[in-house]
């Protein structure tokens, strides 16, 4: 019983440890950005949606004509 209580306590207090603001040295690196170069990403998305007729997958409306 005691062990169950301890395990529950451990799970609720220490299972999810958020990264503290002062521990974000690596997360703050340029190469950790989801979208490191917004202009380049936009061009890639446009080309992709035009070539693959797959517009919309990247949260952009319109058809696959490359004209949006």
């Amino acid at each position: 019983m005691k062990i169950v209580v301890l395990m529950a306590l451990a799970a609720f207090t220490a299972a999810c440890v958020p990264v503290a603001p002062y521990q974000r040295a690596f997360l703050a690196r340029d190469d950790m950005a989801l979208d490191g170069n917004p202009g380049y990403m936009k061009a890639i998305e446009k080309t992709y949606s035009a070539k693959e007729a797959a517009s919309g997958g990247a949260a952009v409306g319109g058809g696959g004509c490359g004209c949006n």
Partner: protein, 163 residues
């Protein structure tokens, strides 16, 4: 007994409450960035101290350093000290930044996060303005030009208080 100890150990992993204005500054001993005697807030008692948590990867921290250096230079003769607690992952990152933006106030390292946890730092940068009696009087989270201007007034009024 063992159960109580184990429960206590788990609960101790919950961070302490954030240090806010009006609370005494935590007593900490911090190793200087470039070696030497440890820096303690108790050792600086009688001075107005600004404890600044910064890192070279944090853009507003970078912007704050010249302002803090200027405030330090103009007020150090009146009993104002700055302790810059560096939160870079490696000291060489801090050194590379400091080579470009040199500062003359005390810089300490906090590799094990003891100081950051002691203050429960909620943002980068975080600055704690401690009065001559060792009580935190102002907490600045983030840094803009307005922070610098506000800090200048706060430092001036705290320096006029008796120790």
């Amino acid at each position: 007994m063992r159960f109580a100890l184990a429960a206590l150990a788990i609960l101790a992993s919950i961070p302490a409450a954030a240090v806010e204005a009006g609370m005494p500054a935590p007593s900490l001993s911090m190793a200087p960035l470039e070696g030497g005697a440890p820096v303690t807030l108790a050792g600086l008692k009688g001075n107005v101290v600004y404890v600044d948590f910064w890192a070279s990867w944090c853009v507003p921290c970078r912007l704050s350093m010249p302002t803090l250096e200027d405030l330090y230079q103009r007020n150090k003769a009146r009993g104002f000290a700055v302790v810059g607690v560096n939160k870079d992952a490696s000291a060489s990152d801090a050194r590379r930044f400091l080579a470009r933006v040199p500062v003359s106030f005390a810089l300490v390292q906090d590799g094990a996060d003891a100081a950051a946890r002691g203050f429960d730092v909620k943002a980068m940068p975080s600055g704690y303005l401690v009065d001559r009696k060792g009580v935190v009087r102002q907490v600045h989270r983030g840094f803009t030009a307005e922070t610098g201007a506000a800090l200048e007034k706060e430092i001036d009024s705290l320096l006029k208080e008796p120790s």
